[in-house]
């Protein structure tokens, strides 16, 4: 068995001699969100501190005292598709395919170029084709179990999401999998692609997540009093829950060699990944395991906690999550924790896409030298002693970013991203001359 990727004994294993694994580059971004569609719109909205919460328009909310979500109103992802015929896939599959199409264009990668190369397509999701599930339930109410509409029944299974991506791009030699590890699924998909590329099973991957806002999820979390009434306000004293968002985030990853061979622009490096499970409580995250997951991801990246320039928190806006996560950051980063931001304030909890959306925001922040703000913030919470970037974007030289995510049920997953400069000079190049920050990292044992 090959040496453990999460072993404690090689904190500096970034050179080719110490680490023969291929390094993995991000070369393309595709995004659909309530604040922007496509890289440029999303970037503009991140810099403007936009908030995409609005009254729910996707289904009738009569009878609920409040009903807002981060939808993408008026956007039909099918209008962005070239190969998929209308109606063949549900809205969530269409979003995944449309975001993948954008990401490939952003990467300057014609799908035909990689048609004969093995690839990976991994799509994270929480609720899958939830709008079709809702429609089937409505049809059952109206006409009984025998009256289910065939088009909805044919496209309801979540295993279809990566198929939509493959069909849209005309790819067949791809390992296609849906990872329904709920709210951490976007990070899971990125990590799964990373391991496939490192392991030599593929040279390119299209990975991320997609979800929509459904009656099922809204009624359920409204009933549980977990759904915020107006907007999502992470780390704020008066935060009152999360709010689901709609959208998709997809990234094109390639081995560095593959990206260089075709002269691609490298946007960032996926430097590390960690995942573990609380195995403790269905809904209350376990601080020690979340910390172990973050520490494990940093070790996997060969990054010291002191190197981290920003943490994209899971930051759901619930009382319990944000306080727990704040404690975790103190555990992992010690006396000088990096700034923290919570994208869900702007785009809502995009569920299976959340990790991917945060990875995309982190890459844009690296490229353009800023940390996106946590909006809807007015009052600090003593239970959340973090340096939260609030209100407006903060100019920053971001070389290393961490994206944290947690799924209900105790699923934790963290991604470590490095600035493209980390890959510029060759396989072993560091991002900058040593500043003495490359210190030992073998702490926070799992």
């Amino acid at each position: 068995m090959e040496k453990s990727a999460v072993s404690h004994d090689r904190p500096h294993a970034r050179g080719p001699a110490a680490d023969p694994r291929p390094r993995v580059a991000v070369t393309g971004l595709g995004v659909i969100s309530s604040i922007g569609i496509g890289r440029e719109d999303f970037l503009t909205a991140l810099r403007a501190g936009a908030c995409g919460a609005s009254p729910i328009s996707g289904f009738d909310t009569t009878g609920f005292r409040y009903a807002r979500a981060y939808e993408v109103p008026g956007f039909d992802p099918e209008t962005r598709l070239r190969r998929i015929e209308p109606g063949r896939f549900g809205k969530v599959g269409a979003q995944a395919a449309a975001a993948a199409r954008m990401a490939m264009r952003d990467a300057g990668l014609d799908p035909a170029e990689v048609r004969d190369e093995p690839g990976v397509i991994a799509v994270g999701t929480t609720c899958g084709e939830s709008l079709d599930v809702d429609a089937l339930a409505a049809a059952e109410v109206a006409g009984g179990p025998g009256g289910l509409p065939a088009p909805r029944a044919r496209r309801v299974h979540p295993g279809r999401l990566p198929v939509a991506v493959a069909v849209e791009l005309g790819l067949t030699d791809v390992e296609a999998v849906t990872i329904p590890t709920v709210c951490a699924a976007g990070n899971y998909a990125v990590g799964h692609a990373l391991d496939a590329l490192r392991g030599g099973e593929a040279e390119f991957a299209i990975c991320g997540g997609a979800d929509s806002v459904s009656r099922m999820a809204f009624a359920g979390f409204y009933r549980l009093r977990a759904w915020a009434s107006e907007r999502c306000s992470p780390f704020d004293l008066d935060r009152n829950g999360f709010m689901f968002g709609e959208g998709a985030g997809m990234l094109v990853l390639e081995t560095l060699d593959h990206a260089r061979r075709r002269g691609a622009t490298v946007l960032a490096e996926v430097a590390g990944f960690g995942l573990n499970c609380d195995a403790e409580h269905p809904t209350r995250p376990l601080r020690e395991r979340v910390a172990a997951c973050l520490s494990g991801a940093l070790r996997d990246a060969g990054a010291a906690p002191s190197e981290v320039d920003v943490v994209f928190a899971h930051g759901t806006g619930t009382k319990i999550n944000d306080a727990m996560e704040s404690a975790v950051f103190a555990d992992v980063f010690g006396d000088a924790p990096p700034p923290v931001t919570a994208l869900k304030s702007m785009i809502g909890h995009t569920q299976g896409a959340a990790g991917a959306h945060a990875c995309i925001a982190a890459v844009l922040g690296m490229e353009h030298g800023f940390i996106p703000p946590t909006v809807n913030f007015s009052t600090p919470d003593p239970e959340c002693p973090v340096d939260c970037v609030t209100g407006a974007p903060r100019p920053a030289r971001v070389r290393t970013a961490v994206v944290n995510s947690l799924g209900v049920g105790g699923n934790n997953a963290a991604v470590v991203l490095r600035h493209a400069g980390a890959l510029a000079g060759g396989p072993a190049a560091g991002p900058e001359p040593s500043t003495g920050r490359h210190t030992a990292t073998a702490e926070g044992a799992a």
Binding site: L136, L148, D173, A176, P180, D278, A279, V408
Partner: protein, 344 residues
């Protein structure tokens, strides 16, 4: 690293356990019905507050994992190095439809059962199993329709290759419920719906050997692809099979046993002497659990031939293939007939 399956636990329309399943497969007679009749979920205590839903799909998965994880398996295996990869094709849809239905039909739209909420998403069984058996390592849920079992196996092998876990509990499950049957019928899925669950202990060969566990099967290759139109499925599967054989260093003649999901083997150029086993004709369409049961069938037949000391002269390789109508084509090459497991 050689990845092997060193233990398995099953639930199928033949009953609970690998024994009844193996007998049914070897007998080759279609089983009536599609339910696991002798598996009953405990009714929740009516006087207790319903904080945790006991739903059939996750109960099936957890019971099978309980059978797999005896004290001998868990001993000396640190909880944070225990991984779980579990999948199904449709789990959560039934529960989600109940919740939406209640929201649409009750006097108030928020008058829904809160205990149902976590079971509406697909990682419910994975999370429950982690809590039940202290599985604190990587915990992933995957789905790829009828190919889910092979997708889980591939995810598990990757976790081992990247050093993220010592061993992986890996499997797939699917329950039979009225809504699943109604959706299948509306979608034009003709096969008789069934339920089942197959879970495996997946670990490096050396680890199995050092723990004194038998090698039930060595995983030589896993391949999966996507097809656009059903008419392309045979060619896409054939390409996957060719690569799996190349990866496994095998020729078509070495495949002694073929376990297809349906009739997709018609397009595969395998020798006439290859034995073909069709578990779906015996147990029915177990959808998300189907591929896991196919793997189990290959192992069950291998066990029987071992007992008779008549190892397959063709080389003891088993090929599992699956076509999922939603677009997945996948295959798995196993060495099941070797006398001492891998390397012999």
């Amino acid at each position: 690293m050689n990845t092997v399956i060193s233990a398995m636990a099953l639930m199928s329309p033949a009953g609970v356990g690998a024994g009844p399943f193996g007998e049914a497969i070897r007998a080759g007679v279609p089983l009536p019905g599609g339910a696991v009749e002798d598996f009953r979920t405990e009714a929740p205590d009516p006087s207790a507050r319903p904080v945790r839903l006991v739903d059939r799909p996750s109960a099936m998965a957890i019971a099978a994992i309980g059978d797999l994880l005896g004290p001998d398996v868990l001993a000396g295996w640190p909880p944070h190095r225990r991984a779980l990869v579990l999948g199904s094709g449709a789990a959560g849809i039934d529960q989600s439809m109940t919740l939406t239905r209640d929201s649409l039909t009750r006097p108030r739209p928020d008058n829904v059962n809160p205990a149902l909420v976590p079971a509406c998403v697909m990682n419910y069984a994975s999370a429950q199993a982690a809590m039940a058996f202290d599985l604190r390592g990587p915990n992933a849920t995957v789905t790829a329709g009828a190919a889910t079992g092979l997708a889980a196996l591939r995810y598990a092998r990757r976790l081992l290759a990247s050093g993220r876990a010592d061993a992986v509990v890996c499997g797939a499950y699917e329950d039979l419920n009225d809504r699943r049957a109604a959706i299948a019928e509306a979608a034009g899925r003709e096969a008789r719906p069934a339920e089942g669950c197959g879970v495996f202990l997946v670990e490096p060969a050396e680890r199995a050997r050092s723990h004194g566990r038998p090698v039930l099967a060595e995983v030589l290759a896993l391949e999966s692809r996507v097809f656009d139109e059903p008419c392309h499925a045979p060619a896409v599967l054939d390409a996957a099979v060719r690569r799996a054989l190349r990866t496994g260093g095998a020729a078509p003649e070495n495949v002694g046993l073929l376990v297809p999901s349906g009739q997709e083997d018609a397009g595969l150029r395998l020798p006439a002497h290859t034995r073909v086993l069709r578990p779906s004709e015996i147990v029915g369409d177990a959808f998300g659990a189907a591929a896991a049961l196919q793997v189990a069938a290959a192992i069950a037949v291998r066990d029987a031939s071992r007992e008779r000391a008549s190892l397959d002269p063709a080389g003891g390789l088993a090929l599992i293939t699956t076509i999922d109508t939603d677009g997945h084509a996948a295959c798995c090459l196993l060495r099941t007939g070797g006398r001492g497991g891998p390397g012999t």
